[in-house]
Amino acid sequence: MPFLSHRLDWRALILVGVAAVVIYLTLIPILMVVYGSFRDAPPGAAGAFTMRNYIQAFSNPRLYRAFSNSLIFALGGGSVAFAIGAFLAWLTERTNTPGKAVVYAAVFIEIMIPGVLESISLVLLFSPKIGLVNLYAMGLFGLAAPPFNVYSMGGMIWAFGVSSFATPFLLMAAAFRAMDPALEEAAIVSGSGLFRTIGSVTLRLVLPAMLAAWLLLFIRGLETFEEPTVLGIPAGITVLATEIYLAAREVPTNYNLAATFSMIYLFVALGGLGIYFAATRAAEKFAVITGKGFRPFVIDLGRWRYLTLAAALLLLTATLFLPLAVVLYASFLPWYAPPSAETLGLLTLDNYRWLLTYESIIEAFRNNLLVGLASATLAVLLTAIVSWIALRTRMPGRKLLDALAFSPIAYPGVVFGLALIWVYLTLPLPIYGTLWILVIGYVTKYMPICMRACSASLMQVHRELEDASEMSGASWWFTFSRVLTPLILPGMLVGWVYVLTLTFKVLSLPVLLGHAGTEMIPVLIFDLYEGGQYTRLNALGVVVVVLVTAASLVARRVTRGFGLEQV
């Protein structure tokens, strides 16, 4: 397809415009962080260039502690999440353990719970003072001290593990499903026992997928903000993400030091991403996971399958059902207390009523909905065009554009929030303190997710479907809106709903950007937590989980309803 005929047409204008927007969204914030880290004055104020921030950062033992804490947390949390996810995936995909549907439903719900709510639920269960599990254990076994302390590195790691096992579950389930059973059958036919086969063939074959899933979790562990904030800060354990947060939030605020920490953090995140890409590329070389549909080799566990079912249910109870139950329970209480005959009599809907009457809550919902809808729509439209440019044109620099649109995957949410503060306190644009700064943040941060959804759909649309439109005399925009968009709509919708739900769940990006009047739901949950309003925040959490789950279910139904048999 020829790019740019000699006349300037709409198509060229749209494409160049989109490219400019992507460059603006992705490059400017990071450049501003670099800039900020070398300045001696806060954003927007006059100042001079300096190395002071770096000297200060590198001579501060907190940096090294935060760095090693980040690594320990990401390694530990990633491993716990991986172990839970992979074990459940193996049970459901490769053995005849009953209750598959329960596991899948649990994983689906797991994805719907905001991270901050998950961490708070663990506080309600394992806090030394108010944690139900601690109180019961002390009463039951006559212990003098609470056996668990959630405000610790171990607590953070556990919290990350239980809130992140959905990803490794889905990745490993796909890998187990896509594996050619003939390879395992061959091992068994040639006299290898069941356990030796699992060890020497099955594990070996899914090793690339395992590595990819584990590395992905490691990167997410480096990025995550919720667990270190809710559970780490009270214990004095900081990671890079929370150091940035504290530097930008605690009086006296130091945005320059926060920018310097962000630079270091960014390099760590980029390093993790580099390892991930290198490893997955190496893994492709001995990929046995083909696209072919196989009927996987299922191990008949006999009577043991009830034992594995019990193990799975126990695991899900500890990681999901119990936290959910405590959230639900607390949401009906006037104040938080362990269940007893007395508290059962106190159950009330007051917290939910309060949600409906409290102005800030309603405003946060309205903000969140507005910002979420706008961000999701803009992100999806933008990335649809970017993936079209990358896949269908020979526009010079299209690979770079593709890479830029994908680059926010490396920016941790807190870093991006800080970067936006730097940009909009420096540039003379009336965006800081409005909802627009949030929209800009979400659109940029979630571009990679939408890119994946859109380009995967676009790759399935035969090139000739577009050519046929051009030969029908249709303009580029006519083709894009009448042919391309309807055909990639399922993919776009998946990305759209996902972004919308993320805006209700993720704390790290809006936490630094929220001002009075522009608060988002996750920030509000966090604020309520800091204000000690546990029962009310749980009611809010329940409402959010229900809404997000409903939206996702509707989206699944709709995308399935498209039923495009031949695209």
Binding site: E464, D467, A468, G473, A474, S475
Partner: protein, 368 residues
């Protein structure tokens, strides 16, 4: 109606540039059915897509009707949506999210025609291809042949000057392909639309075309009517690609006589063959080509005349129902012959073959 002059295009690959088109020129007379025929990768589709405006050549000129739509010298490139041509794609490219009616109406909607006109023209086009009852059907719920018709109706609905067809029949099964070939030719004759057709199927090309351009390696090897292309291949590639041919290497002996009969020395003996081109003297390496069905088979006794008679041993006989195919070994050379299905011969039997002079051609060696 279409004039293509010296079209060149090279694609960049990892090993460097590869010439997809190296100087393609042809013109298509108004109302005629012109076919670009060749093996995959010969440049026929690139040529068609260049005429459509979906591909931009590096060099050359394309004129459709009176309008110059591409000229590298003058810097002209009219994009495909402004060329007013209809096109049918190999995959049909029927939009799966639209009904049959909407698919066909699309070219008119893209030009913002009034609704009444759209209604009338779409119904006319659907009637033309025999789909008037299926307008409300969703496109994916159609058979291959029906999708093909929708694609054709969509290409014709705007009454284009030129119709471009990119291997439109290749996804159909053999029987349906035969039928669609007839219908397509009939429709084209009725409408008189100038048609540029691309195929790799030589039988299809011979059956459907007014004129054929045989392509190989980005060049046109031979142009002519189906009869000319079949009966007088200009070189080894042409002889080999169009239908089955026996090709024997040989050497010209002296000059051809006034009737164009030349003597060629070959491993199976000296043959008298027809030379339709000038030049070439003794000792030039040439090829002899003749079609299996032109070989006369003598299963009992020798033929009367001994001109171009070959004696060989039957190596195999394949019964094909309407005919039988013989593989005969003559002086170390395998020769194919086609005869009546009732030939009763055994493997290893002695066979005489006679090749008529007019069916035996002297051609140049070489691929292009």
């Amino acid at each position: 109606m279409i004039r293509v002059t010296n079209l060149r295009k090279s694609f960049k690959t990892q090993e460097g540039g590869v010439d997809a088109l190296s100087g393609v020129s042809f013109d298509v007379k108004p109302g005629s059915f012109f076919t670009l025929l060749g093996p995959s990768g010969c440049g026929k589709t690139t040529t068609l897509r260049s005429v459509a405006g979906l591909e931009r050549p590096d060099e050359g000129e394309i004129v459709i009707g009176e309008r110059k739509v591409f000229s590298s010298a003058e810097g002209i490139f009219v994009p495909g949506n402004k060329r007013e041509v209809g096109m049918v794609f190999q995959s049909y490219a029927i939009w799966p999210h639209m009904t049959v009616f909407k698919n066909v109406a699309y070219p008119l909607k893209a030009k913002y025609r009034p609704r009444a006109e759209i209604e009338e023209k779409v119904n006319k086009a659907l009637k033309l291809v025999g789909l008037e009852d299926l307008g409300d059907r969703l496109a994916p719920r159609l058979s291959g042949g029906q999708q093909q018709r929708v694609a054709l109706a969509r290409a014709l609905v705007g009454a284009p000057n030129v119709l471009l067809l990119d291997e439109p029949l290749s996804n159909l099964d053999a029987k349906l392909r035969n039928q669609m070939r007839w219908e397509l030719k009939e429709l084209q004759r009725r409408l008189g639309t100038t048609t540029l057709y691309v195929t790799h199927d030589q039988i299809e090309a011979l059956a459907i075309s007014d004129e054929i351009a045989l392509m190989n390696r980005g060049r046109i090897v031979q142009r002519g009517t189906p009869r000319e292309i079949y009966a007088s291949p200009v070189n080894e590639f042409a002889a080999d690609f169009i239908g089955a041919a026996n090709i024997i290497r040989g050497r010209l002996v002296g000059q051809p006589d006034e009737r164009g009969r030349a003597r060629v020395e070959t491993p199976v003996g000296t043959l008298v063959a027809t030379q339709k081109w000038r030049g070439g003297t003794g000792d030039d390496g040439v090829l002899i080509a003749f079609r299996p069905e032109q070989v006369a088979i003598f299963s009992q006794g020798k033929p009367v005349s001994d001109e171009n008679v070959l004696k060989g041993e039957l190596q195999g006989l394949t019964y094909l129902g309407e005919s039988a195919e013989l593989h005969v070994l003559v002086g170390g050379q395998k020769i194919q012959a086609k005869g009546a299905p009732n030939i009763a011969l055994r493997r290893g039997a002695e066979v005489y073959l006679q090749i008529p002079v007019e069916g035996c051609l002297v051609i140049r060696s070489g691929a292009v």
